[in-house]
């Protein structure tokens, strides 16, 4: 689901580079005309690296994102909830696959990407380093986390890089069910017993702020927004998207009869929407740095899954080898 404007394109924007044959200018002109850039087209190295990093982080987030929800599959309270949760988690795995494929069209191998995740060098969305303590967390994740992801992802369907944009179209079609099943789950709890309502409120209390942080640092501290906007990789700033999310989500919480855990939340009459109080950015940076509640657990779980699957991959490769369909080098460039 989840791209998060985490940080850092490589070097600065390329305006300083010599552009002797006018390639940069022609490239920018194509983007300005809303043409899509395709894998074999010429592109500036910074554009390629920015996209590889963003798409890879996005892919890793989908993959790690299966863990907090997978945690509740065996304890789903009914068969209906269980098949829904399995289907959702499977979708997230699929999203990871679409996105890894899109990243690979830029010339990075799948092995390299997986290696970067498992070694802890790659980043993924901060939201998945929080624990899922109760069943209500599954509702809160679908409603808030997938809701925030949708806000982020819809503009990416118009991203200038063709394979990323197409992957996002596919993903966005699937996200809506994720959000709706989560809200429906919250609704069931909100209409339930006092204990169930308390559980729903507790989940909202814990997931609200981390969900707002999913949109990344505030615009004042988001250094690469301008270049990404010029390249049409990004269409809206972090703060714009965060505000949109707050505007649509607060009334949804009110409908549930739940309280958004923000004493400074207020209605802005002029802007006709709710405004949130200040975000605790030191928490955000700590989680990104690896010091969230579950960072170590998440990576350990991924590594264990990768190792536990090794014999299956080796057996499949050996079988293919034996039957004359052995591994050949993947597509380059």
């Amino acid at each position: 689901m989840y791209t998060q404007a985490l940080d850092s394109a490589g070097s600065a924007a390329p305006q300083g580079e010599a552009d002797e044959d006018g390639r940069l200018e022609r490239f920018q002109a194509r983007i300005d005309r809303d043409e899509k850039i395709e894998p074999k087209d010429w592109m500036p190295e910074d554009y390629r690296q920015t996209l590889i990093r963003q798409i890879a982080q996005h892919a890793h987030s989908e993959i790690v994102g299966m863990l907090p929800e997978g945690n509740w599959i065996t304890r789903a309270p009914s068969l209906r909830r269980k098949v829904v949760l399995i289907a959702k988690v499977q979708d997230e795995g699929g999203h990871g696959m679409y996105l890894y494929s899109a990243a690979e069209t830029l010339g990075v191998s799948r092995t390299t990407l997986i290696e970067q995740l498992l070694s802890g060098r790659a980043k993924y969305s901060s939201i998945f380093n929080y624990p899922t303590l109760t069943w209500a967390d599954i509702g809160a994740i679908g409603w808030l986390v997938d809701g925030a992801a949708i806000m982020n992802q819809i503009p990416l369907c118009r991203c200038s890089y063709g394979p990323y944009a197409r992957a996002m179209v596919r993903i966005c079609k699937e996200e809506s069910f994720h959000q709706r099943q989560g809200y429906e789950l919250m609704l069931a709890l909100a209409r339930g017993s006092a204990a169930q309502r308390a559980m729903a409120q507790d989940a909202l209390n814990r997931w609200w702020w981390p969900s707002l942080m999913m949109f990344g640092p505030s615009d004042a501290h988001s250094v690469h927004t301008a270049q990404s906007m010029r390249w049409k990789i990004k269409r809206f700033s972090n703060d714009e998207l965060r505000q949109k999310f707050i505007s649509v989500t607060v009334p949804q919480a009110q409908y549930l009869g739940l309280t958004v855990p923000d004493p400074e939340l207020r209605w802005d009459e002029a802007a006709q929407h709710y405004r949130a109080g200040p975000i605790n950015w030191s928490e955000f940076h700590a989680v990104l740095k690896g010091d969230g509640p579950c960072n170590r657990e998440r990576l350990a779980a991924r590594r264990e899954a990768h190792e536990a699957g090794r014999w299956v991959r080796e057996a499949a490769a050996a079988y293919a080898e034996k039957h004359g369909a052995g591994a050949v080098p993947a597509r380059s460039g």
């Binding site: 395709e38 074999k40 087209d41 010429w42 289907a87 499977q90 979708d91 699929g94 696959m97 679409y98 494929s101 690979e104 191998s109 799948r110 092995t111 390299t112 197409r166 992957a167 596919r170 699937e174 991959r313 499949a316 490769a317 079988y319 293919a320 039957h323 369909a325 591994a327 050949v328 080098p329 993947a330 597509r331």
Partner: protein, 94 residues
């Protein structure tokens, strides 16, 4: 180091009567696994009634740098389109 499985491109026929259309790619150890992964990855919501998988290395593509040379010559041949020909309104069924 690259120990990736073979890359396959995936094509789906979405309904009977329509052509197969490219939807994405995936890695698989062999063709049968590629079909099985394609099903799980690209058709979880009945997106298709038929799948093709093709090794990416087998695809020969035109060079984007030559796009003008290849496609430009068709641009001024408007007489290949029916709208190029002016026929009086009174003439029917044409």
């Amino acid at each position: 180091m690259n120990e990736d499985w073979v890359l396959y491109e995936v094509f789906i026929r979405s309904r009977s009567g329509l052509e197969h259309k490219h939807v994405g790619s995936l890695h698989a150890a062999d063709a049968r696994m590629a079909i099985e992964h394609a099903r799980d990855t690209y058709t979880r919501r009945q997106e298709g009634v038929s799948l093709w998988v093709v090794r990416s290395s087998e695809i020969v593509a035109s060079d984007p740098e030559e796009a003008d040379a290849l496609f430009e010559p068709a641009r001024d041949k408007v007489y290949r389109h029916p709208t190029f020909y002016a026929i009086p309104d009174e003439v029917k069924n044409l």
